[in-house]
């Protein structure tokens, strides 16, 4: 098996090495990927069309809005799938897995607890900053959502899962995830109701007190908030299911 695998891998590698001679030169500005008019349009026209200096955010949430919407749906589906795979209903006996897991509640540690108490608000404020400032700096819904979810994961790691569940119950997290998708899709449907294509934000200037360009700017923020809701909720939900083997009782 190992020899067969090695042969297959080496064959693939050699084919790719042969193919890599046809790649464009490293960093060539006139390579096909960089000289195609779509990428030129994104670089030169984003600021005029959406007033967003960070092109990545603008392309992510505006030009490729469909793509991002369904990426968010994939994340949501993954969270639901983890719950569906791991959760056990009924009275089947739970097999405690592994020997290393602390199944008794941890004694609160003074240093860890104080550090976490200081850190979590800072992490959450930074996450909100990343979400809201994604137009002008690296960041956006995905990154901010992951950081916000990580703050809850930190709480669950430092205390135990039950404390974190008391803060944010699982049901509430899943409602939050649904809300995220609904905010995103709702903005798209709102555009449709006003008589434009799905996720064509320009038309929102009729209900927002701005011009079409700034309507796109503000809709991108709305979309990012929706993505952040979903990512936050799903990251924490996946963590709490994985760490408690689907029982949601004792974490690691």
């Amino acid at each position: 098996m190992k020899a067969l695998g090695l042969i297959a891998v080496l064959g693939t590698g050699l084919l790719l090495l042969a193919a890599s001679r046809d790649f464009p030169n490293w960093g060539d500005p006139s390579s096909p990927a960089s000289s195609y008019r779509l990428s030129r349009h994104f670089i030169t026209q984003t600021i005029n069309e959406t007033a967003v200096p960070n092109m990545v955010t603008a392309v992510l949430a505006d030009y490729r809005g469909y793509d991002t919407l369904f990426e968010a749906v994939v994340i949501f589906t993954a969270g639901i799938a983890v719950i569906g795979i791991l959760r056990r209903y009924g009275n089947r006996d739970f097999i405690p897995a592994g020997g290393e897991v602390h199944l008794t509640p941890k004694q609160p540690d003074l240093i860890v607890e104080s550090t976490v108490r200081l850190l979590i608000p800072v992490i959450q404020i930074f996450a909100l900053y990343v979400i809201a400032h994604g137009h002008h700096s690296p960041g956006g819904g995905f990154q901010g959502g992951v950081i916000f979810g990580a703050s809850f994961i930190l709480l669950a790691l430092a205390r135990d899962l039950r404390t974190a569940q008391n803060w944010v119950a699982e049901k509430r997290m899943l409602i939050l995830a649904c809300c995220g998708i609904l905010i995103y899709a709702g903005i798209g449907v709102l555009c449709q109701l006003l008589g434009e294509n799905f996720l064509d934000y320009q038309i929102l200037h009729r209900i927002l007190p701005t011009d079409p360009v700034m309507a796109r700017y503000h809709s991108i923020l709305g979309v990012e908030i929706g993505v952040a809701f979903t990512v936050t909720a799903i990251m924490f939900s996946i963590y709490s299911n994985l760490s408690s083997n689907g029982q949601m009782k004792e974490g690691i």
Binding site: G98, I153, Y239
Partner: protein, 93 residues
């Protein structure tokens, strides 16, 4: 011309940094797959993610690097560790 020369110098220095990163990258990838203790493998995988995040920062993909730092080095390492602690920590290969 002078500006061009200076820029070339910066680029070549950047390549040395790049080369060091790439060597570390391959090393951490191999170690993460060879080490028998799965907890160590998960931690070294976090290091690998952070190195690739640095590489992307060098390539100018700041958004991707930010995502990788938050996701790869943070959350996915935590997912791996929680699974390792919930299953077995020993690996046969």
């Amino acid at each position: 011309m002078e500006a061009q020369g200076q820029e070339g110098e910066i680029v070549s220095q950047f390549w040395i940094f790049d080369l060091i990163l790439l060597v570390f990258l391959v090393t951490t990838a191999v170690i993460a797959l060879r080490v028998r203790d799965l907890l160590s493998a998960a931690m070294i995988f976090g290091v690998y993610s952070f190195l690739i995040c640095l590489l992307w920062t060098g390539m100018g993909a700041v958004d991707v690097a930010f995502t990788e730092a938050a996701v790869g080095a943070g959350v996915s390492a935590v997912f791996l560790i929680s699974t390792v602690l919930r299953t077995s920590r020993k690996s046969s290969d």
